[in-house]
Amino acid sequence: MLSNPKLSLVLAVIGTAVPHLSAQGLNLYLPPKQNPAAVARGKQLFQTNCSFCHGPEATGGNGGPDLVGSVLVNNDHHGNLIGPVVHNGRPDKGMPSFSSKLTKTQVSDIVAFLHQRIRNVRMRFSYKVKNLAIGSAAAGKTYFKAHCGSCHSASGDLKEIASKYPPETLQQLWLSPQSVLPRSANSPVTTVTVALPSGQRFSGKLTHLSEFNVSLYDSQGYHSFPITSGTKLQVHDPLAAHEQLLKQLTDSDMHNVTTYLETLK
């Protein structure tokens, strides 16, 4: 263990979080967006003509392969590869020709539907959760009063909170405000008191803390100090209670409190 246990505790409180991935950051390869009207028509045509073998979502069905993961479909460009297969069929694999059943426009609508399917599958950052209010609002209210009531109130700072955030953000927010709120002028401030070996003390807004250095702003301005064996630090993070709560929280506590907070509209 590190020789200074107090410092290790303090270091646990502040720092830069690992940035979370986003579609943009990943530079995902996405097929281009398709014309919605063509996709809608194509979906209908696919259900009627193709879904029996390839499944309603084109991911494989009664003998027909998955088309979303298909090499041919993924490499298709405006129907240049899909078109001939639909037109000629694959007699060796039991797929009939659709040349007499589907017009050229209809085939191109099916192509649009397939490319849109692939696009949707890849856009995981647009996934949505459904109903989070599966717990007991009454139990949530009791838990809230016992564990959150000393800092928060349903008629005060959390008034109409459920109208301000989508459910999954609201759930993340009350579990861990640090993970959601941008560090802005209005966000809760972490403060520090530094006692130097000389006996001098400084208190203010913590700006940086590492194993080697601590810095803060007080009414006089900016101060930065090396941390030596005689330096004493006291850090106060107003959001630390959320981190403590998380360690003892059960999933049913989480569902109950979210269900209760969802009533604050």
């Binding site: 720092g15 530079n27 998955d66 993924n74 109903n131 759930q171 579990l175 993970s179 194993e211 998380l246």
Partner: protein, 510 residues
């Protein structure tokens, strides 16, 4: 310079897999063992405080995640779509290769492999590229995966004999992962080992049907390790697909999330050990499988250890994959215990749920790609770890979900640290807090030093026995690769990367 020659010049006293790594750094991990332990000791615990900056090199913007090679006085490294040769004495650029990309995920590049005077690396748009090391001129490139199927590449190729190993990564579309071997002369494919079995083949019993099996997963993200005595190549496989929705792939889903041993000449599997059966949290087993020898109950054993993304440390017998020890190295709450073979038993209540479930660690895991180190002088395994938690949601409740089928929302980006784990007992010997964030690898040396980084941009030298800080310098950005060391003209260098810059440190000239 020829790696085969370098490896042939070893002292016979040292086991083959861990030839004495000293003056050069010819592979991603330095040697084949993955230990990242150097015999150099000019820089040591008593003089490390005197380290001074010798040179810096700015590669121009994209963070360096590659571990550079150092062969014949030249450093070779990459970022996505770029490769460089830089004079290891002065930091002067010798050549810079770049290419126009067709796309693919540009999340990072781990570096190069080398054979004779040829370099090998991969690009995000799925090429394995070979350059002439002297000129930086492209010799050839071969496509190793289909970009349109969402494959992309990040791995550093590993060269074993006449084989260049490379593999694609997977993000969204459900496809099979694989490791492939290429001829270093021509780039011709020699074999592929697939991470999911062919329908009907052994392993199929761990999948409900051939559809699920073909949707695959099990990408090979990180360079593996090699034991020349056993002629076995070791690597880890990533998660099954769809990533977080497991209802369409009931079963253990072999050989995803596994440590795998293959014959490098044939690609035939020798053994496997699955670290997370039926993973639904993206906790791949990609992390470096480190090879080391140690005594257990008075008997010398050939071992392998991995600090896994799922929050558990594993040690195995590398001759047969038999389990030695499993231990927790960060808080985790998703397993109900261990089975008879040391595998965590998944608690299904902690699988992603429609209304969410709180899971420790988060998707990023207890550790990740950052290379660990094993120091034979201390018998300790060193790894950068992160304590974290997230709410995992199941968003696709259909019978046959696709792609991710779920998501996680971070609720705890807790403290990170460098941990020292006793390699045969799994006990945590010391823990050096490094703030939050940071993704550096670890290097140990015979000078009784450990190099790593913290979350504030500091490079650190620690005492490998106690974790006490002996030296630090702020490099202005966090380290995202593994530090290396080499010796030229009788002078030992420590090479660190932070942001897009390289920093070479040494002792002042006498």
């Amino acid at each position: 310079m020829n790696i085969q020659l370098l490896l042939a010049g070893i002292a016979l006293a040292a086991p083959l897999y861990a030839h004495q790594l000293n003056k050069s750094w010819p592979t991603y991990n330095g040697d084949y063992s993955g230990r990242r332990f150097s015999e150099l000791s000019q820089i040591n615990a008593s003089n490390v405080k005197d380290l001074t900056l010798v040179w810096t090199y700015d590669s121009g913007g994209v963070p360096i995640k590659a571990t550079p090679l150092m062969v014949g006085g030249v450093l070779y490294f990459t970022v996505p779509d770029h490769a460089w040769a830089v004079d290891a004495r002065t930091g002067r650029e010798l050549w810079h290769w770049t290419t126009k990309s067709r796309g693919g995920i540009h999340i990072g590049n781990r570096g190069m492999g080398m054979y004779k005077n040829w370099l090998f690396f991969v690009t995000p748009d799925d090429y394995l590229v070979s350059l002439d090391a002297t000129t930086g001129k492209e010799r050839w490139r071969v496509e190793i995966a289909d970009l349109k199927l969402d494959y992309f590449c990040t791995v550093a190729p590993v060269v074993v004999g006449d084989h260049v190993f490379a593999s694609p990564s997977i993000e969204s579309i459900d496809n099979r992962g694989y490791l492939a071997s290429y001829d270093p002369v021509t780039g011709k494919l020699q074999w592929r080992w697939y991470a999911t079995p062919k329908p009907g083949a052994p392993g199929s019993e761990t999948w409900p049907n051939s559809r699920a099996q073909k949707h695959g997963g099990g990408a090979v993200w990180i360079p593996g390790t090699y034991d020349p005595d056993l002629n076995i190549y070791y690597f880890g496989t990533a998660n099954p697909q769809p990533v977080m929705a497991g209802q369409g792939r009931k079963g253990a889903n072999l050989w995803t999330n596994s440590i795998v041993a293959v014959n490098p000449d044939t690609g035939k599997m020798v053994w496997f050990y699955q670290t997370t059966p039926h993973d639904v949290h993206d906790w791949d087993a990609s992390e470096t499988p480190v090879l080391f020898d140690a005594e257990i109950n008075g008997k010398p054993r050939k071992l392998l250890a991995q600090a896994n993304r799922n929050g558990y440390f594993f040690a195995l017998d590398r001759t047969n994959g038999r389990h030695i020890v499993t231990s927790k190295f960060v808080p985790n709450n998703w397993a109900e215990g261990l089975d008879a073979t040391g595998r965590p038993i998944r608690n299904p209540k902690k699988d992603p749920q429609p209304a969410g479930t709180i899971v420790f660690p988060s998707e990023g895991g207890g550790t990740n790609w950052f290379p660990p180190s094993y120091d034979p002088q201390t018998g300790l395994f060193y790894v950068r770890v992160t304590r974290s938690g997230a709410v995992f949601y199941l968003t696709d409740t259909s019978a046959n979900p696709e792609s991710w089928g779920g998501m996680d929302k971070s609720v705890w980006s807790g403290p990170s640290s460098i941990e020292a784990i006793h390699a045969t007992t799994g006990k945590i010997v010391w823990n050096h807090p490094t703030g939050r964030g940071g993704t550096s690898g670890v290097l140990t040396t015979a000078g009784k030093l450990l190099f790593g980084g913290d979350g504030s941009g500091n490079a650190l030298a620690l005492d490998p026995d106690s974790g006490r800080t002996l030296w630090h310098v702020n490099l202005g950005a966090t380290m995202r690769n593994g530090p290396i060391t080499y010796e030229l003209d009788g002078r030992q260098y420590i090479l660190l990367a932070a942001g897009a810059k390289l920093f070479a440190f040494a002792l002042p000239k006498q």
